[in-house]
């Protein structure tokens, strides 16, 4: 039977309410402080190194995000590395109790008794989460760029800004994956603690264990396969395909491709290329943004697709859920 009235009725109200909640919550405040500290530390450490190459390196602002940091003797990951770690945390924090929290507070039936469809509730919560992520990311990026100008004394060029913005989008999509997963678990599990732990488990699985699982699978296949270089290549490709199941890999690969214009392939031949370049066998060159985008496109599509799949599944589950707790 067809229902009448737009499913988006009341969406704006839900988004505004959720956004206000996120922006004023202690949870987000703590995470934002963490992110800003990371940003400040990275800029400080990165510019220390980069000061020597200003003027030689045309993409000095992109290096801030990618070069590994050293503060004193301590080795720190790059900003990109930090983001790969912090974005899941923020995404999970934003959404792990979004649906079951409403049931727990017994506000769900009261909200759904207002003239809106369930669609507006779920979509509103998702959009508000994404908007919060986007706002935070934009603020961090502006902070980094500003601090970079102070420390490096040069203004970023348009191509650096463009790549920076695309990088922000990729990071947003990566955060969206974890937001979507947390949202899904908050629909499935009735206890926020359970949904939080479930999401964190998935994240840890991909962070720590997936690589081990993937190489195990790869080794098992490798035993049966002996042959020429072509076979060799197809195994390497298999290894890469396996690694793509992890959102972390998708994010790192696409972000590296976008932030490092020198990278011409993400396939198994990447290291060969880099070695050849270093040895002067092939000339150094940089890809235009459109080509870098093309390079990162499969990974980017993978990330966005994962977000859509997670949201759709959460949507289906939520629509079929009984309202009474």
């Amino acid at each position: 039977m067809k229902r009448e009235g737009s499913p988006l009725t009341g969406l704006g109200a839900v988004v505004l309410k959720e956004l206000a909640d996120h922006l004023s919550s202690v949870r987000m405040f703590v995470l934002e402080i963490l992110i800003f500290l990371t940003a400040v530390a990275t800029v400080y450490a990165a510019t220390q190194t980069l000061r020597t190459v200003v003027g030689e390196d045309p993409f000095v602002y992109l290096r801030i995000f990618t070069i590994p940091n050293k503060i004193g003797d301590a080795e720190l990951p790059s900003f990109l590395g930090f983001m790969g770690f912090l974005m899941p945390l923020v995404g999970i924090a934003l959404a792990f109790d979004s649906i079951n929290g409403e049931y727990l507070r017994r506000t769900m039936s009261r909200v759904l008794a207002q003239p809106i469809y369930r669609d507006a509730v779920l979509m509103g919560k998702f959009l508000a989460g994404m908007a919060t992520l986007a706002t935070t990311l934009l603020a961090v990026w502006l902070l980094i760029t500003g601090l970079g100008m102070l420390r490096l004394g040069v203004v970023p060029e348009a191509r650096e800004v463009a790549r920076g913005l695309v990088f922000l989008f990729v990071t947003l999509a990566y955060g969206g994956v974890w937001l979507g997963l947390a949202l899904l678990f908050s629909v499935i599990y009735r206890q926020p603690a359970t949904s939080a732990l479930a999401t964190i488990s998935v994240w840890l699985f991909f962070l720590v264990f997936w690589e081990i699982v993937a190489s195990l699978l790869f080794n098992i296949v490798g035993i049966f396969a002996r042959g020429g270089p072509e076979a060799e290549l197809s195994y390497l490709q298999l290894r890469q395909v396996l690694s793509w199941f992890s959102p972390n890999t998708l994010y790192t690969e696409s972000a590296v491709a976008l932030l490092t214009p020198e990278i011409r392939t993400l396939g198994p031949l990447l290291s060969v290329f880099l070695q050849a370049e270093a040895a002067g066998l092939i000339p150094r060159s940089q890809l235009p943004l459109s080509q870098s985008l093309l390079l990162a496109w499969p990974q980017l599509t993978g990330l966005v697709g994962t977000v859509i799949i997670l949201f759709t599944y959460a949507y289906v589950r939520f629509q079929r859920q009984e309202v009474r707790a």
Partner: protein, 311 residues
């Protein structure tokens, strides 16, 4: 006159269990109808189906002429619903909670602000409207719930177990507020398992058992149907031990001793004068003799007792 709420053979099954079994319900404009029944008898499921929040397995419902399945938004725009154990966003103030409801209802901001203050004042929450809800007592939350319902100026108010967990005074006060809705011409559907409260505010009552509405009518009709129009008389006399004597009074069907010296009689006729005569004749001291108006508790207890013995 077309009914405000009308259901025809409304049925909801969860697997093998039938939550609501071919329910035919009719509410006329301006009446206060009480859904009465033990927990799990299908009251809340019925309400959710009326609001389009749960799909019926079969049968149909119409609320204010709208089909809740097809036009849930039209129904929910005109019907206020206060769920069982209503919840609010604890960290927000009462006013902010109602603001959210107003926005979800698409009430223009200016109008909403005025209505929010009006409703909170009316519910006696005017002084605390800018305090976070987590400082509210159970009774205050319940009144905030009613303010939340009235905010959209509904034609129908559906209240699910509105007095659960309230102390007697707060419950009494709350029932007074429900009566004031009737005076405004709002049709009220009230669900409860607290019988005397339903009796106090409802024009008509539907008795629910295992998903079926087994009895329907005014309180008088119900008590006549179930209790068979019998008289209940309460006698207090001293010294105790009059049970046998009272059984001997013509017309008395049953005697129950509530406590030593206090008896409840069930009789076919008004035999108060006979009772008085016998007690005095036996040398007793008659302390009190009065009609015990049958309460819904009696109706309820008697009905389920009979249903059990028939089974």
């Amino acid at each position: 006159m077309t009914p405000i709420i009308e259901t025809e053979g409304l049925t909801k099954r969860y697997g093998d269990t039938v939550a609501v079994d071919s329910l035919n319900l009719r509410l006329q404009a301006g009446e206060v109808f009480g859904l009465l029944g033990p927990n799990g008898s299908g009251k809340t499921t019925t309400i959710l189906m009326l609001l389009g929040l749960t799909e019926p397995t079969s049968g149909s419902a119409r609320v204010l002429g709208f089909d809740p399945l097809r036009n849930p938004l039209d129904v929910k725009r005109r019907v206020g619903y206060m769920p069982d154990a209503v919840g609010f966003y604890d960290e927000l103030t009462a006013r902010d909670n109602l603001r959210y409801t107003a926005r979800l209802n698409g009430i223009p901001r200016k109008e909403a602000e005025a209505t929010i203050v009006e409703m909170l004042d009316r519910m006696g929450l005017g002084d605390v409207m800018d305090r976070p809800v987590n400082t509210f007592s159970r009774g205050m939350r319940q009144r905030l719930g009613l303010a939340d319902v009235l905010l959209k100026r509904p034609h129908v108010a559906i209240l699910d177990e509105p007095t659960v967990g309230l102390d007697p005074e707060a419950a009494h006060e709350f029932l007074g507020m429900i009566r004031s809705l009737k005076a405004e011409g709002i049709t009220v559907l009230l669900s409860s398992h607290l019988l005397h409260q339903v009796q106090a505010v409802c024009d008509r009552i539907g008795l629910f058992s295992k998903g079926k509405m087994v009895l329907e009518g005014t309180f008088e009709e119900l008590s006549t149907k179930v209790l068979g129009g019998s008289y209940r008389i309460q006698v207090e006399a001293r010294p105790d031990g009059f049970e046998q004597v009272l059984r001997g009074v013509p017309g008395v069907i049953g005697v129950a001793t509530a406590r030593p010296g206090l008896y409840r009689l069930e009789a076919k006729t008004d035999c108060r004068s006979d009772v008085a005569r016998r007690i005095v004749a036996e040398g007793g001291q008659l302390l009190e003799l009065r009609f015990d108006r049958a309460s819904l508790d009696d109706v309820y207890a008697r009905y389920f007792q009979e249903a059990r013995s028939e089974a």
